[in-house]
Symmetry: D2
Subunit: 342 residues, 4 copies
């Protein structure tokens, strides 16, 4: 059986750990390299005693990666770009869970993020949203794995925008995320005592996932689109629910359901609800996105609701899906993850 030798940079963070959780049970994967900046030299099991993987955490060294890996996942704040050309030159593919490779225009990246992306040079780069860009992903050397919020937004909007069903190029997106999206670095405002019984918005109209969404949605639509985006954080660990408000030409529910099914009935990880609305718990632990909707038949206002597990379809699961595509494996290999209920 085909085996891909895989490394994970940033192994002890939430997305790194989620990668390991998935890859350990993946039939075509061998984990051959783990790095973690702060805990070099320790065994993963000392830090995360619940994981049955006895591997030493190493420095993120290009030579080691080249020697041992066919593919490197980078789940690190920044630095993926720095090593990307060396890796690609030596035949290692790269899937970055950060933002280094999400933007067509590096200048937009640099405006919103601390690190600098001078130019992508000769890299065959792709925005890794399989439901939209599957064919490009197959040919890429470097995959910019999408952000969690953009994943929850672009998949449900793709059929509607492609079919030119909106009547106003301004979209209101109200998203709610669990706390794991903020990572595991200690912060007072993320303490249990602070977050329990608490809900708040942050970075209203000013989140760095906005340019990412606008780039992809505008490409799909063929014209510039504006997004008014408010993210919220709520007392829940995993899950994103995005509530999207659009002015459309639709006049009945059936029409909408049909378009969704036209695009997604064959997709392994997209579930369209004919009626009712999705709960985040239904996708917790899975690589699925579930989509529901409601139409105001009087004025065509459409409300689309999507849920994902932010650490899986919103990060590590989608990264593995991209790996499967890159290495010509079944797209759902290792991703047959049932939801944890209750």
């Amino acid at each position: 059986m085909k085996r891909v030798r895989v490394g994970v940079a940033g192994a002890t963070g939430y997305t790194g750990m989620e990668l390991i959780r998935i890859l350990k049970n993946h039939p075509n994967v061998e984990i051959t390299f783990l790095s973690s900046r702060k805990t070099v030299g320790m065994n993963l099991k000392e830090i995360r005693p619940f994981i049955d993987l006895e591997l030493t955490l190493e420095p993120l060294d290009v030579d080691r990666v080249v020697e041992r890996c066919d593919l490197l996942f980078t789940a690190i704040p920044s630095g993926a770009f720095t090593i990307s050309k060396d890796l690609v030159k030596k035949g290692v593919k790269l899937i970055d869970l950060g933002a280094d490779f999400r933007f067509d225009d590096p200048a937009i990246h640099d405006e919103w993020y601390e690190n600098k992306i001078e130019n992508y040079g000769e890299l065959k780069r792709v925005y890794g949203l399989p439901e939209v860009n599957r064919d490009e992903i197959k040919k890429a050397d470097v995959v910019g794995n999408p952000g969690c919020y953009p994943t929850s937004v672009i998949i449900p909007l793709y059929p509607i925008l492609r079919e030119k069903m909106i009547t106003e190029n301004r979209i209101v997106i109200d998203s709610k995320s669990g706390t794991s999206g903020a990572g595991h670095n200690p912060r007072e405002d993320l303490l249990f005592s602070e977050m329990e019984e608490n809900l708040r918005a942050y970075r209203v109209l000013n989140h760095r996932h906005v340019p990412e969404m606008e780039q992809e949605l505008s490409k799909i639509f063929g014209k510039d689109l504006r997004v008014h985006f408010t993210p919220h954080i709520l007392p829940m660990t995993r899950g994103i629910l995005s509530t999207i408000y659009l002015k459309t030409k639709f006049s009945c529910r059936e029409e909408i359901y049909r378009i969704f099914m036209d695009y997604y009935s064959e997709e392994k990880f997209v579930r369209i609800l004919k009626e009712g609305y999705p709960s985040t718990k239904w996708v917790r632990g899975t690589n699925n996105i579930m989509i529901g909707f409601e139409l105001d038949e009087e004025d065509g206002t459409l409300v689309v609701l999507s849920v994902i597990d932010n650490l899986i379809k919103g990060a590590s699961g989608q990264a593995v899906q991209n790996m499967n595509i890159l290495f010509d494996l079944p797209e759902d290999a290792g991703l047959n993850l049932p939801s944890l209920y209750p």
Copy 2:
């Protein structure tokens, strides 16, 4: 000192209990009557052992109320309307935490609720939102206490609509509520095992607080307004956060802050944040509403964020505020409730 003799119908529910919690420490109130349909004859303390109030639960009998109360709070699913005329005729004021007295047009009530309101007859009825209708409340016999979502929406929109600052008469309202709004009757979908790590929308575009909001907002604005409203329920017991999206004429933050201060700087329970966004935990246990906002200066899109404790400013605290106005007491008597932090 002035004493108001007060009864509570529906004492053992969440809003009934919250009324008792507040009224017990109110300097001008004596609780003289409690009713509860299912537990007649029991002592409140047998059912809710944490409350230091030894009162027997009685049937909701008009004669008893008339004999012992100056005011009755009705925190019951329906039936407030049935007894309202008898009570008012005999000099008892009524504050209803249900929906029987919220609508100017009883037909709209009847379209959305199970019970029927034939006509309000000679009752001096008012929609009891003090920040908007204070003068009318003073003269009323019967107060329709506002719904929780409408409270969180109408107070922040009042100055903006009154000043005619919107440019589109379609408002998107995305609200998130804790579970206590759904009451204490057992339901599988409200179990801890189901609600923890869960977030979902419900009654999208079709919640019965929509006609209530549209009625009040249209009156304030002077023209018909449409509301696109999506409520959500999240794993949190108390609190509502409403995120409101408007197209406006505003071109800078300062202008918005000034208008809010013009209307609300003297209000005891309204807090405007010059910057930053409010957290539900900041108002938990209080009668306050906190309001923050963000403006897209390019296109005038305004996002307003408001938080309340759904059981206090969204129900029982506001009812006590209405009582204070009705009986000419200081508006914050008994309502100096600090937030429970953390």
Copy 3:
């Protein structure tokens, strides 16, 4: 590859759903029958939209089971006993997640449970705790799957009692359970609004898992043992932590660790911590039990701490482990479940 045809009675409850979650991905299992008392005729997916299994819920009919199943799991309040003899006679094995088959003496069962177990007759019955009774399980027709609390208590005590290391035959057990142990039937005291920010004990010294623990612990010890057991329920969905207090002959930690390793180093689902204490989250979603301990070297008082996922090792996972033993499959087939972190 070997295939076992399996039915689940009580499919829509929490343990039934957890069985299905595990069995669906089990390489040697085909789910051929589902029953659910209240929802006969519906498709499982209508009731639990997040599960990808299109099977109709049928009545619990012996003939259908005999025709289609090699094994029936019964995850139902009672009634497993009623059909057990018919099933066994016709060659169907039975694993009961209820209490019908846990007791050596049916009279003790009948004292603590509502239904009656007249006699076990000719059934080859076993108490299905693999770490203790593996050999008997292999030969059984009917397995009484252990209770969740007893599982968390008997596994850690087994080596200590077998080695006769205790000096007092009275054991204090203080257990804490998540809410999923109480099932999915609506109850006011299990609502999210009631359970969040709440912790309480229940059935102090009087829980029906006491006779089950005393039966098994006394057999292991060879003498009568008394258990003082207090269960608690806390605001968490999955997980049990049992804190066990014993007077022992031990004089140092190493001795204890060595005994645990002697018994359990080869066990697939038992993890002994050399130092530190286990967290429930480390086993959530897994079939593992993790055990830590601390010794008061002055007086030999030993505190043992164990954690399990109450729905997996405490119910459905252990049931599948028993199935694997019964059908001579690898004991961890289908049970390589990584913990969901965070």
Copy 4:
């Protein structure tokens, strides 16, 4: 009306904030001084926007305190001892919420805590548990406010030990605490993502509240007592439940209830449950301790259950109770705090 001028050192921590919450509404208190090490010069409201108190945070300077305060609460990690003699000499009373003044023997303090208490000198010091030491508190200059766990343990054991009803001088105490007891300093293991759906023990048999409990319990009993204590942390912000296991001479429940009532029927903050067990939510937001119990009539094993709000009766509320005693105010002044339900 009598006014006490009060300062709070460590104002922005959880116990400091809770003191302010209570003192702000206390009829006999004026808050005249606030200190906070890290945020000197800022206004409290900038840091905690939900509190309506416009006071500047100052350095902890003895002269300022002497000039402006009759009493200083110290809610700081250490350092209370350093300034205590100067304050007392100049007529300022001190209530310390830390551990500097809890021990009769400073050497025991120094063994368990980082800072050093050389000798208490001429200070009139008391262990401030009003239900046990009320008369000594009246005469003290410096009050060592008890720890949260000891409060939850000593109050329920006091009558039983004083009456010499135990038959074994080894007591098992299994306590469970909310996260607020760990304070507001960021720590990875206290993040919401880590604590939700998590329960664990810590410092088993080795918590620094053990010597505090053993000191007080032994004094009450008149003989040395050993305590086997396991604290746990659970996904809940406020509340402690202690489950205490004792061997006693009792032969029936009534006897126990009678002794509890003999000691506590007049106490304002102690509630004895004749039957049933207390829930932490019943005391959340209050200064109450609720006590329930269960007896094994066969062997005299008694299980006592107590609940408190760790930040109130376990810290700041009890400190205010001590203040009321010190300044000859009604013991419940400012402490008529109803529980927040739900």
